[in-house]
Symmetry: C2
Subunit: 383 residues, 2 copies
């Protein structure tokens, strides 16, 4: 196990009817800006619940943050925050609203061009405090300090992170997820699953508990995913999926272990260039990454085959291969397609994505062996 | 899954040679009081490492906190804190040093008789900030707001807790645990194991992830415990045991599930009256609690039998019984004896403990069905 630092100060309030407790979590006298997305919170009653909870508070609104939140849109909210002297941001929505709001929080107090936060990972010295009412389990953004921002004008999608960007609190009421459509639910399950594999399917460092905590999330997802299609109004299923998403990327399972974020980084390019949903991009890329580095990942893949998929027969190589196939089948059963051709993409996408990453001179993966040409090889396997 | 609130702000710094980073974690200009126990930190080099890291800091010392820290001793430190204007406590040691220091932190700023914090759970409005260098994995106190304090004069051992008592940070260097003796290691493993079962072996509420996170800790303990006797200087084994102890009682696996702290509460009386080690008291009591409420706990006991002990054959009742027997055998293999008679105790202990708890009109357990006479029945099974 490697040396690690873990400090996650997010206050989670989880359960039915918890939105009503918003006033207990907000600093008295705050000038609030509620940020939200494309309006789903108006249709599913969450907007109403927030407004009711915050009667009598100083509350402005900024709607219209996109899936893959856009820099240009966020900057309009930054202007609003500065002009109105906002002191606290309340992000009401899914991971995109949260990510956009983290950028707004940091950019409002940033000296200089805020795009530098994203493009150059310029250090963030301060950010407006932020809280969240989560409505879509997927990104884990509600319990971490990371965010991913896109910029239309140059088709970029890039991440940043800062301890200043941890939400002060996140309210998770599984009821808010009842109105998600099948595609959102499926993408969220895949996103969570891939977050876990990116912290788990590398090489062993005898971090026994972290391995089992990662497996705990994968096993729960595999158990709960089929139920949500059969019984979409089952509270406990929604609750379990929601808690899995949070636990998948709050830093805990990543304590002291090698990590491999290549699937996310390659996937971001597919989204930036071709508009694939985030979950779709991951379902396409992950099997290629695992296959490309199968030999280096073999020991963990075999453990994954045994403990998560319950397989035990065959050589190590056969078990590793079978585990990758099981993963692909799981994504398909969840309802997310796993090949570039499923999304109408071919060699042009392989070339475009690998060229962009080659130009950035990336060396992705826990081995640092995934450069531009490796990205091309990975994506060719996913045609 | 039940509604829950989870907020754990402790900063964990885990790994080799992390004590040297103390100055990065302490507020500049602090007037520090280093608290410690019976002197083991002088023998194993930890005292030296702390002193070296804090050269140039304003640093007073208070040694002599006992295993099961005594109110009377803690109050001497409270006087010192008040007299010297201490602004930050640094607890260097195991759970007893941490627990004592939490009490010192709260009592220093308490208005009125500080014993009320323990005896009446009087509300804590403030506490001195506290950090820790942990040297004994067991209690989980390094990542929670709870503490247990004893009072010699009336043979009491009682717990309290407050959000103000979370350590600001805890440094966990597994090397500091290399010099523990077999009994301390064994007690620590049992303590951790029982913390987990007290949050896990109740009744199902479809908290799928929490169940699997609890099982992750139990499985890791079962895997690592035999290794620590064979290879006591193996860093990774020590590291895994240390992280299990922290994860066992930092609130995570208890999110949204029923809990049964009867084993700890009955065990505290055995320690207060007869001086059993904390881990010994738990190894005696837990099997009795599980047996006494076996019918009510059956569904979770069967799950525990299957997932933790890998058993699958037999009726539900037989599996539950076998799982309890496996638990007893595990404690014995670890090196902690499991019967009152092993510690020279008989019916007088059954009567004394059950009478004390009857006088406090307890209703312990997740069913609230363990009163004084049930305690007697439980302990009779452990003669």
């Amino acid at each position: 196990m490697r040396t690690f630092s873990y400090h996650n100060p997010v206050h989670i309030l989880f359960g039915a009817h918890t939105i009503a407790q918003l006033p207990d979590l907000l600093p008295a006298g705050s000038r609030l800006l509620m940020t939200y997305g494309q309006g789903s919170i108006r249709r599913n009653g969450v907007y109403q619940q927030v407004k009711e909870a915050l009667q009598g508070w100083s509350l402005l609104e900024f709607g219209g943050l996109e899936p893959n939140p856009q820099y240009e849109t966020c900057m309009k909210a930054v202007e609003l925050c500065r002009r109105e002297g906002i002191t606290f941001l309340l992000a009401v929505g899914g991971g995109s609203v949260l990510d956009g709001s983290k950028f707004i929080a940091a950019a409002t107090l940033f000296q200089g061009d805020p795009w530098r936060i994203v493009a150059e990972n310029a250090p963030i010295e301060a950010a407006l405090p932020l809280g969240s009412v989560l409505t879509l389990p997927a990104t884990g953004s509600e319990m971490n300090g990371f965010a991913v921002i896109s910029r239309l004008s140059n088709q970029e999608k890039r991440g940043f992170g800062s301890p200043h960007c941890y939400p002060r609190f996140a309210i998770l009421d599984p009821h808010t997820t009842f109105s998600l459509d099948d595609r959102q639910v499926a993408n969220g399950i895949v996103d969570t699953f891939v977050h876990v594999t990116e912290q788990y399917l590398t090489y062993p460092v005898q971090a026994s508990l972290q391995d089992r905590q990662a497996e705990a999330i994968l096993l729960t997802l595999i158990e709960e995913a089929p139920k949500v299609r059969l019984t979409p109004q089952a509270y406990t299923v929604r609750a379990n999926l929601m808690w899995c998403a949070t636990q998948g990327l709050n830093g805990l399972i990543g304590c002291g272990v090698p990590q491999d974020w290549s699937t996310h980084l390659i996937g971001h390019e597919l989204t930036a260039l071709y508009g694939l949903d985030h979950g779709q991009s991951l379902a396409v890329v992950l099997p290629g990454v695992l296959r490309y580095n199968q030999a280096a990942k073999q020991e963990k893949l075999v453990q994954y085959a045994r403990r998560v998929w319950g397989m035990d027969n065959g050589s190590a190589e056969a078990l590793a291969t079978a585990a990758i196939e099981k993963t692909v089948a799981f994504f398909q059963e969840v309802g997310v397609k796993t090949r570039l051709s499923d999304y109408g993409l071919g060699m042009e996408a392989v070339e475009a994505v690998s060229n962009r990453l080659a130009a950035r001179q990336v060396r992705l993966g826990e081995q640092g062996n995934i450069d531009g040409s490796a990205v091309a090889a990975i994506l060719k396997m996913r045609l």
